[in-house]
Symmetry: C2
Subunit: 216 residues, 2 copies
C-alpha cells in the first residue's frame, strides 16, 4: 500500500473527447458515493471504478493515484464554497456589520448544504494529510475575503480584523461540522442558521464598540 506517491493532483491525461469526460465525471461522482456507502477506510480504486461503470485502468488514466482522486473531489467542493463566500463578501462591501454577518453565514451554509451529501462524504477526507493542505489553502482564501469585507463596514471595527475574521471562520466551520456530523443535517440547518446569525451579529457589534464594555 504505497501511500507516499508524489502528490500530483493533475490528471495524467486530460479528457479530450466527450466519452472520456463522461468517464471522469462518473469517477468523481462514484468516489462520493463510495465514500458515503462504505466510508473512507474501505474505499478502493477498484470499487470506485466499478461503481462508475469503468475499469480501474480507466481510473488510473485520469488520476495518477488514489490520493489524487480524493484530493480532486475535495478540491472541487471546497473551491465552490470559497467562491460563494468571496462573492458574498465582495457584494457586502460598504454594508452594515449586521448585514455582513447574515450574508456571510447564509452564503456559507447555503454552499455547504447545497450538496449535503458531498459535504458529508468529504468531511472525513478533509482530515487526511493531503486534504489538510487543501483545506488550509481554501481557508486562507476565505479569510482574505472576509478581512477585506470587514474593512469596508459602515461601523469601523475596534479590533484586529484578522482576529475577528478568524473567529467568524472558526465559528462557521464549527457549526457546519456539527451539522454534518448529525444524522439528519437538513433538520437542523434552519434553527442553527438563525442562531449563528444572531451570534455573529452580536459579536461583530461588540467588536465595533470599545474593547472593554463596562459590566453592569
Amino acid at each position: 500500500m504505497p501511500r507516499s506517491s508524489p502528490a500530483l493532483l493533475e490528471p495524467r491525461k486530460w479528457p479530450v473527447q466527450a466519452r472520456s469526460t463522461a468517464s471522469v465525471d462518473a469517477i468523481l461522482e462514484a468516489t462520493i458515493q463510495v465514500l458515503l456507502s462504505v466510508g473512507k477506510e474501505r474505499l478502493t480504486t477498484t470499487r470506485v471504478a466499478q461503481r462508475a461503470g469503468v475499469s480501474v485502468g480507466t481510473l488510473y488514466q485520469y488520476f495518477p493515484n488514489k490520493s489524487a482522486l480524493l484530493q480532486s473531489v475535495l478540491q472541487r467542493h471546497l473551491s465552490r464554497v470559497a467562491a460563494a463566500l468571496e462573492e458574498a463578501c465582495i457584494q457586502q462591501r460598504g454594508s452594515s456589520l449586521q448585514s455582513m454577518a447574515a450574508a456571510l453565514i447564509n452564503a456559507f451554509l447555503d454552499a455547504k448544504m447545497q450538496d449535503i451529501k458531498t459535504s458529508v462524504a468529504l468531511y472525513a477526507v478533509s482530515s487526511d494529510v493531503d486534504g489538510a493542505k487543501i483545506v488550509r489553502h481554501t481557508s486562507k482564501r476565505a479569510h482574505k475575503a472576509i478581512v477585506e469585507m470587514l474593512a469596508t463596514a459602515r461601523e469601523p471595527l475596534r479590533k484586529d480584523p484578522q482576529l475577528v475574521a478568524t473567529l467568524l471562520q472558526s465559528v462557521m466551520t464549527g457549526v457546519s461540522r456539527r451539522l454534518l456530523e448529525s444524522p439528519a443535517p437538513e433538520k437542523h440547518v434552519e434553527p442553527l442558521r438563525h442562531e449563528l446569525i444572531v451570534l455573529a451579529t452580536v459579536y461583530l457589534e461588540a467588536a465595533a464598540k470599545p474593547p472593554h464594555p463596562p459590566a453592569p
Copy 2:
C-alpha cells in the same frame, strides 16, 4: 488488511504486574509520538511497538487490533476534557451568564491545551469511523453538563437551552480545531481565548434578552 474486526476497546489481557503496566503506558505514549512524527497514514503497529521499546507481540497482547489502540488513546484524552468541562459546569451553577461563559471557555481551552501534543496528534484520529463514535459520545456528555449549568443561570435564558448549548459547543470546538491546525498553537491561544470569551458572553447575553432585539 482486515479492518472490520469487532470493535473491541478492551485489552485482551489486563496488566497485572508492574512490568506490563509500564509496557501499556509506553505503547500508549508511543502511539501519540508516532502519530505526531509520521502521521496517521503511516502509523503501523510495528512502528508503535518499536518506538515503545517492545515487540509487536506485546502490543497485541493488550490491544486486540490497531483500531482499538487508536481508540484507547482518543478515549482517554476526550474523557479528560469532558471531565474538566463537567467540573466547571457544576461549579458554575447559579452564577451569571458572563461568569459561565468565561469558565466554560477556560476549562475547555485549558484541558485541550494542557497537552497540546496529544490534542494535535488525535485531531486526525477523531475523524475515523471508530473515532467519530467516541467523539459523539463525549460530546453528548459535555452537552448535558452545559445545559444543566445554563438552567441555573441568574439571568434566565429566553431561548432553548439545548440550542444554546449546541452553539456554544460548536463554537468552542471550531476555535479549538483552528488552533490545533495552526503551526504554533501556543502562540495564538491567548488572543483567541479572550475573543472567544467575549463572543460567548455577548451571545449568552443576547440569549437572555427578548428573542428579537429591535434594530436601530
